[in-house]
Amino acid sequence: MDGFFTSLWLQEDISYHSANKRSSNEPGNGLGLRGKGGWAAQGKDMSSPNSSPSPPAGLSFSHPAPDTLCVQFGGVWKLGTRRPSFSEFEKALTPEVQRLVFNTDGLKDWDSMLVTFVLKIAQSCRARNVAVDQGGLPEGVRRLIALSLAVPRKKDAARKIDKRSFFFIVGENARAFVQAARDMLTFIGEVSVALTRLVRGQARFRSSDLGLFIMECGAEALPIVSLISLLVGLILAFVGAVQLAVFGAQIYVADLVGIAMVRVLGAVMAGIIMAGRTGSSFAAQLGTMQVNEEIDALQTLGISPIEFLVLPRMLALVFMMPLLGIYSDLMGILGGVIVAVGMLDINLIEYLHQTQNAVRLMDFWIGLFTAGVFGVLVSLAGCLRGMQCGRDSAAVGQATTSAVVTGIVAIIVATSLITIACNVVGLN
């Protein structure tokens, strides 16, 4: 509609630089959310569209000449009032009408509501080759319409909705999967190179950063690891006790909790907590740095972001995860003790002795190794997603979510593989 409308409506010379304001006797101030005499008078919420009753928006039609339709606006046309249906106008626009004029004598107040209605009228008239005479509209409306049409609608900007076939979608997803796997391998390769440089003493990062991340991954995670692991130990002991009591074998609760926590559950619980807490934090930190172009700044200085940003985070988590795993084991066993001593009337010394007999050193080493692997996986997932983050805030959220999901999936898959591998080599 732009060309047609512009030709009809831009006949007036509108100077934007003039201080030519809407005249005082012109209806309305054009500001939908203002009250009369100051919209905040007496602290009332004058902006509410329903705060004061207004005469409704009126729309009527007349025919000053057989081929001319006069659209008459009355009452208040503001955002808070109900707009008459556009179909009323369409009914009035009969095939005989060749010219359209406006009358706003009855108009009390108006804002964008009126302007959008007039724009729709013009669009409809254009479709039917009806000439529009803007003379009867308030000057402010004419000015706003001229402004809205000053830049033509960019026709090629509209998006085309692609109709994709099933096979196309499958193919796209397969290609994306291959690309994601390739990106992950590339990242692992870059980290390996950085680690090699670290061993050679060539990697560049700040030792204070490493200390900070060790504190974040270690000491600051202790409260949540304590709570979750203690509760898992409690639950395990309680569920086990109910079943073992049937056979009068409550004492074996110590075996159940001890072996489960030390061999696998301590590491798994610590790993999942760290994936949700620290992996997501790494992704968010690095993602935000991508958005703020901080990573670009490092690269232009010739500093490897993998060495400077990823390496300290990875090292911190890889060092801390085994320790957190051991701590989680102890808290789980403490949970078992609480149930055994409090509910099953088992002596504390007896319980600890039973645990000592049940848990072998090999279980401890397997648990420690598993925790170390989780440290690598969670830090890799967090840093990878952070480094892959897009350039807007929504992408940071996606990177964080993806880091947590990737980390937890990696933990479960790795646990399965380690368990199977231990069986195969006879480490039962």
């Binding site: 732009d2 934007y16 630089h17 003039s18 201080a19 030519n20 304001k21 809407r22 101030n29 054009g30 500001l31 939908g32 959310l33 203002r34 005499g37 100051g38 919209w39 905040a40 008078a41 602290g43 009332k44 919420d45 004058m46 902006s47 509410s48 569209p49 329903n50 955002l79 808070g80 707009r83 804002d111 964008s112 509501m113 302007v115 959008t116 209605f117 724009l119 729709k120 402010g140 000015r143 706003l144 402004l147 809205s148 049409l149 000053a150 830049v151 033509p152 609608r153 960019k154 026709k155 900007a157 509209a158 998006r159 897009g390 350039r391 807007d392 805030s393 929504a394 992408a395 959220g397």
Partner: protein, 251 residues
């Protein structure tokens, strides 16, 4: 120009904790003004803007919107006033997970009972006012910085506000985009019969569109001049004001 004062700032002191940023700010913003808050970096321009738009209370002093003491209102009362103002931020501050149309529609959906088709009409119209007709389905990350600022303006005027605040509108724009944004601000002011309050230190913008101003001085921690920037350039005897308005050529 003797238009009514739409905002009156009286003896305002701004502080972060015990650190006073500015004190004794007193000036009026009149209806229809393009009012510039200017001063060197770190003098507290953006802090003053935050106080005016309700994001941070002043340490002392009063701000009146018409006759209402803004900071003496309860939060609901302040919200009522804040709904009548529009704010555009330095980066546009568009919500990145929403399209431009959704960004502009949100205030309309929140504060009006309009049906979806009328909101869609209004959104298209507001985007066309800022020269972005056709970009409704784009996300902020898919458009340029200048377009983001214009989309931010479309969102700010979604509810036809009486006052539009701008925080560094020209920052990061090339001279042509900057000039085009200045013209758009003028057009919006004239077409909506609005008042514009702008934080900026872009001299071309200040002289192109500003007709009233306040100058904040970081050294004395108070305002040292106010009035039409052109008049300040000609008549102010203060060396800091002269240095600022002439890019340090006079001091």
């Amino acid at each position: 120009m003797n238009a009514e004062a739409i905002i009156r700032v009286r003896n305002v002191t701004m502080a972060y904790g015990s650190f006073v940023v500015m004190r004794d700010l007193t000036f009026d913003i009149r209806h229809g003004d393009i009012f510039i808050i200017m001063g060197g970096s770190g003098c507290g321009k953006s802090t003053l803007l935050k106080i005016l738009i309700g994001l941070k209370p002043p340490a002392a002093g009063e701000i009146f919107y018409h006759d209402t003491n803004f900071w003496q209102l309860d939060p609901e009362g302040r919200k009522g006033i804040m709904r009548g103002i529009g704010v555009t931020y330095q980066s546009g501050a568009l919500w990145s997970a929403m399209t431009l149309a959704e960004n502009v529609a949100l205030p309309l959906e929140t504060y009006t009972d309009l049906p979806a088709n009328e909101i869609a009409d209004l959104v298209s119209y507001k985007l066309s006012l800022v020269g972005l007709a056709g970009f409704e389905s784009y996300y902020p990350s898919e458009i340029s910085g200048g377009m983001r600022k214009r989309a931010g303006l479309a969102r700010a005027i979604a509810l036809d506000p009486e006052i539009v605040f701008f925080d560094e509108p020209s920052a990061g724009l090339d001279p042509i985009s900057s000039r085009s944004l200045d013209e758009l601000i003028l057009q919006i002011r004239d077409s909506l019969d609005a008042t514009v309050v702008m934080v900026t230190h872009e001299l071309p913008s200040i002289f192109a569109i500003g007709n009233n101003s306040v100058f904040l001085d970081a050294e004395t921690r108070t305002m040292i001049a106010s009035g039409d920037p052109h008049t300040l350039l000609k008549e102010s005897k203060d060396p800091n004001v002269q240095a600022f308005l002439t890019r340090g050529e006079k001091k």
